[in-house]
């Protein structure tokens, strides 16, 4: 017979509960068949609690695990790496569970559950993740207690209480270790490359619709802290990619063959700022037009772009300086001239024809640029997030002459094509424009919805000059933000609709908390640790001193916690009733009547009563209260007070 109600009394149940719990955050990353398989295996093991003969043998287990691993291998192409490794680990744990019947198996599974928690941190390090970690830890400790309590009556509630208490006591030690444990910079060994899940963010190509899609996301791309006054909103052009090659529809970076030493002249004092970049799995770094001083371990390409040495898989912080008033590349190389003028044969003929017409019409390239921008501004062009589709081979023609509704990529693309057709070297720059300043901490948050594309044209004497055609059609986009630039009737992304009063304020709070979390917790590394120790000690300290400091602090906190658990100085180690009775015995002892070890309270009262007949009643009453309080009922303050008074009044005059 099945006795399903017995299941929660079995240790296996208390192994499965936390195991299932720590696997939940991984579910979206697991293949569908595993999301079905894992609960089945868990259910199987649960059923086997009441029907032990359902436990599979070694051969059956092998028949499950072998094909499963093969399918996993085909699914991911590897068994290493974050995603595939986690899937494999989950699978092995579920199989191990099916052959677990002993305490040591359960203990192993619980240890490995902690390991599952940490694999989740490779994907997510948010505040909710940590809250989930703490809850999981409580449940896992509860399971440890359940497995080790034997037949002792420790209820679910006391397990919960004990495990929460342990967690609370562990937190201060954890914090000290977190802050003071010596942090070693850099990885110990190279990380296995991972076919990581796609992230929202800029891609290295641009085609119609590619940026307006990105706008839908409100995810943080990076945060900026300016060392001094922040520049005006309309000069916040965060540059990341330069695209040279156009196939009629899509822009790619091509294979630039540029000046080995780009020339940059700055006309103002460089602006210094620190960027905290969210992982985007790419090498490119963002900087304001035009970066002058670059951080260590970062290369500076000849397109004035910053490149990290390896892909950014975790939060990355760097400090850069930029000139906002600058001049670059007064000399144009032959390659740049040819690449900057190149257009695909036969594509977008009307646009090309228009460009060529302007070339004949205007003498100065400057005038051509001006005319193009005026053209956008004065003709019937619309700035919209939902441009009509421009299918076919000549999307630029369709946009310029038919639909006239587009987003920044349409304007940047058509403008650049026009310039090239008019004989002006031009290229596309991809990055972000603007950012939201959080009034709570003055950090700028640049989100995916700030993604932007603009152009650079090369002009005699001036070098490469930034021209943003979007500014001509929707100046609010540049002066303020996207939301202000869109028409009132525009169907805005969800995050832009949630932008009123209270919500905006809440968003700022959350953003500030999230920022501090990222700066101080996720971003806490050897550099920050050194900074912190410097402020504490007012000088540099080495590893030995750091370890000594860590041990001392830990010892102090341990002592405090241990005192809290041991309570050696607590007078409460005896019941108040026992203390009172002790006082009573002491009083009698002073009169020469000493209670013997073998003497029960009643016998002693009898002896005392015959010794002091005058106090016989009081002595009997005191003894009665003592026996009642000690052995029968719960503490009763009124009775205790009575007893106290009686002991005080005890005369004990010899008869």
């Amino acid at each position: 017979m099945l006795h399903l109600k017995n299941i929660p009394q079995h240790p296996v149940f208390w192994v499965i509960v936390p195991l299932a719990m720590v696997l939940i955050p991984h579910l979206p990353r697991l293949p569908v068949w595993m999301i079905i398989l894992l609960p089945l295996l868990f259910g199987w093991r649960l059923l086997a609690i009441v029907k032990p003969r359902l436990l599979p043998g070694k051969i059956l287990l092998f028949l499950i695990i072998f094909p499963a691993v093969i399918i996993l291998l085909f699914h991911y192409g590897t068994l290493l790496g974050k995603t595939a490794g986690t899937a494999l680990l989950s699978l092995l744990l579920a199989i191990k569970l099916l052959e677990s019947t002993q305490k040591r198996d359960y203990m192993l599974l619980i240890a490995l559950s902690f390991f599952i928690i940490v694999t989740n941190f490779l994907f997510s390090q948010t505040i909710p993740t940590v809250v989930f970690m703490l809850i999981s830890a409580i449940v896992l400790i509860m399971s440890l207690i359940f497995i080790n309590q034997g037949d002792a009556p420790v209820s679910f509630r006391s397990r919960l209480k004990m495990s929460s208490l342990m967690l609370v006591q562990a937190l201060p030690m954890m914090l000290i270790l977190f802050v003071l444990f010596p942090r070693i910079p850099g990885p110990l060994w190279s990380l296995p490359e991972d076919s990581s899940s796609p992230r929202t963010g800029l891609s290295d190509t641009m085609s119609p619709g590619s940026i307006s899609e990105l706008i839908q996301s409100n995810e943080i791309a990076f945060r900026v802290q300016f060392k001094s006054e922040a520049p005006a909103q309309n000069s916040l052009y965060w540059r990341a990619l330069v695209l040279w090659y156009f196939d009629g529809k899509t822009w790619e970076h091509g294979k630039p063959n540029l000046n080995p030493t780009p020339t940059l002249e700055g006309f103002d004092t460089p602006l210094s700022y620190t960027i905290t970049l969210e992982p985007h799995d790419k090498k490119w770094l963002f900087a304001l037009d035009m970066p002058s001083e670059i951080p260590e371990n970062v290369s500076y390409t000849n397109n004035f772009l910053l490149r990290s040495e390896s892909d950014i898989h975790s939060l990355y912080q760097y400090t850069v300086s930029s000139f906002l008033d600058y001049r670059i590349e007064q000399q144009l190389s032959a390659w740049e001239r040819s690449a900057g003028l190149k257009l695909p044969e036969g594509a977008n003929p009307r646009t090309v024809a228009l460009g060529q017409q302007w070339r004949r019409q205007f003498k100065q390239p400057r005038d051509i640029v001006q005319h193009a921008l005026e053209n956008f501004n004065q003709q019937n062009f619309f700035y919209t997030l939902q441009p009509p589709a421009t299918p076919g081979f000549d999307p630029v023609d369709q946009f310029l002459f038919t639909t006239r509704r587009g987003f920044c990529e349409h304007y940047a693309s058509s403008f650049t094509v026009l310039m090239r057709a008019a004989g002006i070297p031009a290229r596309i720059v991809l990055g972000y424009q603007g950012g939201t300043q959080n009034p709570l901490n003055n950090f700028y948050s640049v989100t995916q919805s700030d993604a932007h594309a603009w152009s650079e044209v090369w002009l005699e004497q001036e070098g490469w000059v930034r021209i943003d055609p979007t500014a001509a059609i929707a100046p609010n986009r540049i002066e303020q933000n996207l939301n202000a630039a869109l028409a009132a009737t525009e169907n805005r992304p969800f995050h832009m609709r949630m932008n009123s009063g209270m919500l905006k304020q809440l968003k700022f709070y959350w953003d500030a908390i999230d920022n501090s979390w990222k700066q101080w917790v996720i971003g806490y590394d050897s550099k920050l640790q050194n900074q912190l120790l410097n402020t504490i000690f007012n000088r540099d300290i080495d590893y030995v001193e750091l370890i000594l400091f860590l041990i001392t602090t830990l010892a102090v906190i341990t002592l405090i916690i241990a005192l809290f658990i041991f309570r050696p100085f607590s007078r409460n180690s005896l019941d108040p009733i026992q203390r009172l009775y002790g006082r009573f015995c002491k009083k009698l002892a002073r009169k020469g009547l000493i209670r013997q070890d073998y003497e029960g309270p009643l016998d002693f009262a009898c002896r005392a009563g015959s010794e002091f007949p005058a106090d016989k009643n009081t002595i009997n009453l005191i003894t009665a209260i003592y026996i009642n309080q000690r052995y029968r009922s719960r503490e009763n303050t009124k009775q205790l007070n009575n007893m106290k008074q009686m002991i005080k009044k005890l005369r004990l005059s010899a008869s």
Binding site: K103, M107, F115, I117, F121, G150, P153, A170
Partner: protein, 326 residues
């Protein structure tokens, strides 16, 4: 787990024990486990836990993953607290002896120990293990006055059996640490000789005290059949009745009122082994008691007048148990 320690080879356990024995107080009726005598080591699970923690920490260092650091430090702190909790689960536990009940050699003796504490918190899953018995667990609930545990100890020989050194240990609450204390309590249990399974037939003719020597089979007067009870001699089983009812039955014999028998050492052959003689006498005492006879016991140097009842039986068995031992 036997009497050994986790993760420690036996010879080191013995060395630790030698050292610990010097710290044991003189055996008494009562002992309180104090810090001085509570030892603690990680268990195998503790080691697994610690290795997991190290792997997580290494991963955290390599991936520069802050939350990985956080989790490994949290686990380290919890493991450390687990050590304190486990230690505290023995600390200030007071053990008191209580009266033991005699057993026959071969049966396990049970030494009742009363647990109490001046601490208010509970003591959970405390294991007690004598030098050769199974571990038994006990727990003292929070605020409870006391509770009792019976420590089993296998018996082989008759006589007084000292509880001797026993180990009190616990792995509660997390199972990561094994805290233990070796203890010594002044308590002993009387072990009666093992009742002989094939005793020689008791020969009434050897009785000289009996007034009814002519009625040689007076002892064997068949008085009826009753259900088998533990301790009944196998040669008194009523086989016919067993075959009929399929339940164990014993033939009951009836001795005439006033019959007194003396179970005598000297009735046994001289060449019989002393222990065997005591075993046989033990069996005879049990049989005689069982049949409600008045019986006396004669041993070299000891003479117990005929009597009956539980106390008399105990006296007889005790003198057998302690024969030439004291």
């Amino acid at each position: 787990m036997s009497n050994g320690l986790p993760l420690v080879p036996d010879f080191i356990t013995r060395l630790i024990k030698l050292w610990a024995e010097k710290r044991l107080p003189e055996p008494d009726q009562q002992t309180t486990l104090v810090r001085r005598r509570i030892y603690i080591l990680p268990t195998r699970h503790g080691l697994t836990f610690f290795i997991t923690l190290l792997v997580i920490l290494t991963g955290a260092i390599n991936y520069e993953n802050s939350l990985g650091f956080m989790l490994s430090f949290l686990l380290g702190s919890i493991g450390f607290l687990g050590m304190i909790y486990t230690h505290e689960n023995l600390n200030h536990l007071t053990l008191n002896t209580a009266t033991t009940r005699p057993v026959f050699a071969g049966q396990p003796a049970h030494f009742p120990i009363t647990l109490s504490s001046d601490k208010k918190h509970g003591f959970m899953n405390i294991q007690f293990q004598s030098r050769n018995g199974e571990a038994v667990s006990a727990h003292l609930e929070p605020l409870a006055a006391d509770c009792q545990v019976q420590i089993p100890l296998n018996t082989e020989q008759r006589g007084w059996l000292e509880l001797g050194e026993f180990k009190v240990f616990t792995e509660f609450p997390l199972g990561l640490f094994h805290a233990w204390s070796w203890n010594h309590l002044n308590t002993r249990c009387l072990v009666y000789p093992k009742p002989d399974e094939h005793p020689p037939h008791f020969d009434l003719s050897s009785q000289h005290s009996g007034q009814h020597a002519s009625e040689q089979d007076g002892y064997d007067d068949f008085a009826g059949i009753r259900e088998y009870q533990k301790g009944d001699a196998p040669n008194h089983l009523a086989w016919k009745a067993i075959a009929r009812t399929r339940e164990l039955q014993t033939k009951q014999f009836h001795a005439e009122v006033g019959d007194e028998i003396i179970l005598s050492w000297y009735a046994l052959p001289d060449n019989m082994d002393i222990e065997r003689k005591l075993s046989v006498l033990c069996r005879w005492v049990l049989d005689a008691d069982h049949h409600g006879l008045k019986y006396g016991l004669q041993l070299p140097g000891t003479q117990l007048a005929a009597g009956s009842g539980r106390h008399h039986r105990h006296l007889c068995l005790k003198s057998l148990a302690l024969f030439s031992r004291s």
